[in-house]
Symmetry: C2
Subunit: 440 residues, 2 copies
């Protein structure tokens, strides 16, 4: 009898490929593989294209090269290249050899680009026309091409691209103009020349930023000599943004950038533990500062009570600054030259917040523990720690960026270390001085 929650492949195959892929990702691998094998070749390929990359690799591990070639043949070249890129090099070559020669060459040429470059994410399903062609000629040409190779034509055609005889991109025409413009008009007359484009080796983050800035439905991808080699569609950018943002958020706290709530704990363990150890090393630095002042604490134990307050406020203020800076960097809103202005803003905020918080903590400290000295010390330490939080919240991501490291990478761990170390040093140091001066 069938489990009512798991309809057989017949029932499942009525689902949209993206929905079916979601279901498969929640099933044990063997079960998912069994269902995949029951689908039609075309549907199977569609579903595989929708799977998360890690999941797809795992599911395809038991497929033969011939079976994989069948899947790849059904997919657009760009998606075939993405999948082939995940295979071990030996198997990849075997699979490519099984493909029809033209597909194989196209997929191989896409595989030359790094997966996170414009070339790595572009589709080769675009329409390029010549400037001297008329609207009527283009209509006829496209009708023929669509009849000969329907699979080459995507539903999602928003623009036509116009090249000169050397293959150089010279203009863009909205596809709708094939219907709206008079039949005798030439592409060269109706095209727009001030077009935006990306280079094949541009990073996908740069591509995403262009979409965010200009709001086109597609952008052309150029190789050397402005040769048009592909397009990126806005709907692909949604996936890329999703992945980039997840990566930024995760890396800030020392996660792999690719973990999801469904990543099995076995795969998540190593990455998380590595960063916990890094964090441990930095925590020992904060502990070492406290250890410097052990004799001060021995004389005045109440200092230990205020350590979490100093650390907590500094850490939180640092996280606020850091989040604003990392996000602005990711959105391309902060150039290196803007750093000074951002730092001024953060230091101004830190000073004012520090005074506001320091005053309250100082008064509460005095009121709770009855010591004016404690109030003054904790209040001043709070102001100084806020300034340290602002400084490190700006300088850590800028420093990582200058070193060509992802500015998000474990930045919150570093900033917390600064605020812990600086906060404890100011607080306990001032307390030690205060004790020496007023209670020798």
């Amino acid at each position: 009898m069938n489990d009512p929650m798991l309809p057989d492949a017949g029932g499942l195959s009525a689902l949209h490929p993206a929905d079916l892929a979601d279901r498969l990702q929640r099933l044990p691998v063997e079960e998912a593989r069994r269902i995949l094998h029951q689908l039609s070749e075309e549907k199977r390929a569609d579903v595989i294209a929708e799977l998360d990359r890690a999941e797809a690799t795992e599911l395809l591990a038991a497929f033969s090269s011939a079976e994989l070639a069948d899947v790849l043949e059904e997919l657009p070249h760009s998606e075939a290249a993405d999948l082939a890129g995940e295979l071990p090099p030996g198997q990849r070559a075997a699979v490519l050899a099984e493909l029809p020669p033209q597909d194989s060459a196209q997929v191989a040429s896409l595989l030359r680009y790094p997966p996170d470059s414009a070339g790595g994410i572009m589709s080769d399903r675009f329409i390029a026309l010549r400037a001297d062609q008329t609207v009527a000629e283009c209509q006829e040409l496209l009708r023929q091409r669509a009849a000969e190779a329907p699979a080459e034509m995507t539903d999602d055609i928003a623009y036509l691209y116009v090249s000169d005889p050397d293959g150089r991109l010279v203009g863009v025409v909205p596809f709708r103009d094939l219907v709206f413009r008079r039949p005798h008009r030439r592409m060269g007359e109706i095209m727009r020349r001030d077009l935006k484009f990306v280079r094949a080796l541009d990073d996908q983050e740069k591509v995403a930023r262009l979409f965010q800035q200009y709001h086109y439905l597609a952008l052309p991808v150029l190789e050397q000599n402005d040769r048009l080699v592909g397009i990126v569609l806005a709907n692909q950018i949604i996936d890329i943004l999703k992945a980039e943002v997840t990566e930024d958020m995760q890396r800030m706290v020392g996660l792999s950038g690719e973990e999801s709530a469904w990543t099995p704990w076995r795969r998540a363990l190593r990455g998380r533990l590595a960063w916990l150890y890094v964090n441990l090393a930095t925590a020992f630095m904060a502990a070492a500062v406290v250890a410097l002042f052990e004799s001060t604490i021995a004389r005045w134990t109440v200092l230990a009570v205020f350590l979490p307050i100093v650390a907590g406020q500094g850490g939180n203020a640092g996280a606020q600054t850091l989040t604003v800076i990392i996000r602005a960097m990711a959105l391309g809103e902060l150039t290196p030259a803007d750093g000074r202005r951002a730092l001024e803003k953060e230091l101004t905020l830190a000073l004012l917040n520090g005074l506001a918080v320091g005053l309250v903590v100082g008064v509460l400290g005095y009121w709770w523990k009855g010591s004016a000295l404690l109030g003054v010390v904790v209040g001043i330490a709070m102001v100084l720690n806020m300034l340290a939080a602002a400084l490190s919240g700006v300088l850590v991501p800028y420093g990582l960026k200058a070193l060509r490291i992802d500015p998000a990478l474990a930045s919150s761990i570093f900033v917390t270390t600064v605020t812990d170390v600086a906060g404890f040093f100011f607080f306990l140091g001032l307390a030690a001085i205060g004790l020496k001066l007023f209670a020798p």
Copy 2:
């Protein structure tokens, strides 16, 4: 003489409206307004449409209702509605009254939808046809419409929508089919019926998730009785994702969700300070736990040295769990029913990480301070605190969500509080017991 960094409006007007908007946002308001006034009416409207909402409101504050109506008239209805929505109600009515009656009615009807609903973000520039119309008839109809009202036609037409006589959406046809299909084919024959859509009152996050799932270039927006009232384009979703993600990242650390690196400190101060005070209240809870054990610390000061390690590791592990959960919730990957499975994963990781970290900290503690008791106490506290971090990292966002509060809202502050309070309690409590048993 002109500042070479600030070309006059003549030079600036050669820029893409989006780039010009960026420049204006970095200028003092008066200067930006002066440049806006020098632009042609059409260009001015394009630039205003590209400004950040807060910036646009500030810049337009000095415009008269008639001037604002001129701007709105140049814009697509959806963008005019967005801008009008930012005006004070009195001025909004005055501006709408200045618009041509038909535009005014359309803009007013868009204004009825909440700004973050599908209706609030949709465009009314879509093409709806009837199922009995042929390809040739549709071509002719569209050509006429484009000739009569070119401004109504966007460049970005990817799909045609097919309605029945009651205005009910029944199918979708890729626009390219107007060129590729034979002229006598009827829309009803070539349309796809299994289409995805959103409801006008659906939240924009839901809309974004549909785009992420199905990768269309546009989705239709339906009112009651499946009446087609607008479309949302993939390139708009990019902006929405950007805003939603910024909001999530910022709210996790108690920022407004709308602050950018360019927000003036005056506007940022109040929001940040409010959360620092909330954080302060929670930090005092952690301090209170330490205060409970003041006499224990007085006997054994080295405990104070290990407080930052206990707090730091717990806080970091909690942030890892929290980030994975918040992100999965935002992506729609975690339903309420998935919570149990997520919790099991996180607790498993916490136990293993806790043992791995606890062992190292325990050994280091013993080696550094020469006390086996300290090593055992700090090691066990570490394991327990990791479990507390996992529990709170999952339960805080689920709890907020159950209360219909944004799960990202200040969640990291709450989780840090739990890990601080629990960590100190376990660590100092175990130390107190240990002292009583082994060094009475």
